[in-house]
Assembly symmetry: C2
Homo-oligomer: 195 residues x 2
DNA sequence: AACAGTTATATCGCTCCGATACATCGGGAA
DNA sequence: TTCCCGATGTATCGGAGCGATATAACTGTT
């Protein structure tokens, strides 16, 4: 099973319902994942080309139309999933390995949770949680060990970082609890935090 | 004034006091900035080379010692700032432009705040704050505009993102307040959040 | 004496990003 | 009406970054 990078997964996910232009893919992704994680054209177009070459998507668009009527219609290329692409997406949605809860992958995976089965969702949330716990220890160890190097700003930066990770963990705990208490009901997904 | 990338600035900052080996630079940076922002060797060594070529640092280390005693001593290269490097660091510490509060640059700049004068500190904190405010609006606009596309997980991801940025802003507000109330006292720096 | 872990330098292939260029289209101001 | 602006749209280039990997000496533990 060829490994799928985050960009590929995100695009497979976004093309799941309708074919879209490169430009639209970028906008949607930016809207769903937030203004951070904003994908640049320098990654998008080469990425699309790679996916076409791999047979995951196909360009079903108006070609440049070399010799054409009055104003030569410009290329507007809509990309859609191939069968292989759809298969790959399913495989990837069933995958609950480390690649699903890594820093850069987790939010993409999370944004696709309504198409992921309950058990996998739980595994991913727990994986992410334990990953962050490791970090928590690293940082607080580091904080302790540097007790006597007193640079107030550096210390504050660290304290703040620690706090952020702690809150992230709390968020995950909430989500995990929600998932757990939803078991026994439906096994399809659509009810995260009540807040 | 040649532009200085974040990596260069971070290294200039860390070499400010003592010469260090590449390996040590990496460890220190990881400790001061947290386990995220962990610099890879694939960036570090080429980066050091660039800085040597630019004359900002120099390699004052035991050379490979081609023909030597028994067990050929391995190269252990300590890098130290040149005068040009020291000058560049000062220039950069006085710079309070957008490049100081960008996503990837802000924490490096912040970690050097005790070597930054009070006015510049304030300008950077305010710049960072306004950058985050823009994002805040983008995200909450996006949240409003997507009211009827109801994917609970996507919405939750967004809500959480919004919350994070809000907290980041609150943190900055606290720091700004501290800086402001410290004016009139000493103008050198070492007293951030009382918390 | 063997093994594991840390210190240490270095490169390869690939991906990613920012900047930039170009072209079309719709709408509102002049 | 014309003109220009902003959004839509595709595309590439150079450089910087990363993950994986190779090599090797030193240090401490069993």
């Amino acid at each position: 099973m060829a490994k799928t990078d985050v960009l590929t997964l995100a695009i497979l996910g976004i093309l799941r319902e309708q074919p879209l232009h490169g430009y639209q893919i970028r906008k949607r992704l930016g809207a769903e994942l937030g203004p951070f994680r904003a994908l640049s054209y320098g990654s998008l177009y080469p990425g699309l080309r790679r996916m076409v070459d791999a047979g995951l998507i196909e360009a079903s668009g108006e070609e440049p139309t070399g010799a054409s009527p009055a104003s030569s219609r410009r290329a507007r290329i809509a990309y859609s999933l191939t069968d292989a692409g759809r298969t790959r997406l399913s495989e990837e949605l069933a995958n609950a390995g480390a690649s699903s809860w890594d820093d850069d992958a987790f939010d993409v995976r999370f944004s696709l949770f309504s198409h992921t089965d309950a058990a996998t969702r739980l595994r991913i949330l727990e994986g992410r949680r334990s990953r962050l716990s490791e970090r928590l220890e690293e940082v607080s160890d580091g904080l302790k060990r540097m007790h006597e190097r007193h640079d107030a700003y550096t210390a504050e930066l660290q304290r703040h970082g620690l706090e952020q990770v702690e809150r992230e963990v709390a968020w995950l705990d909430q989500l995990i609890e929600n998932e757990r208490s939803a078991r026994g009901g439906e096994n399809n997904g659509s009810a995260p935090a009540d807040h």
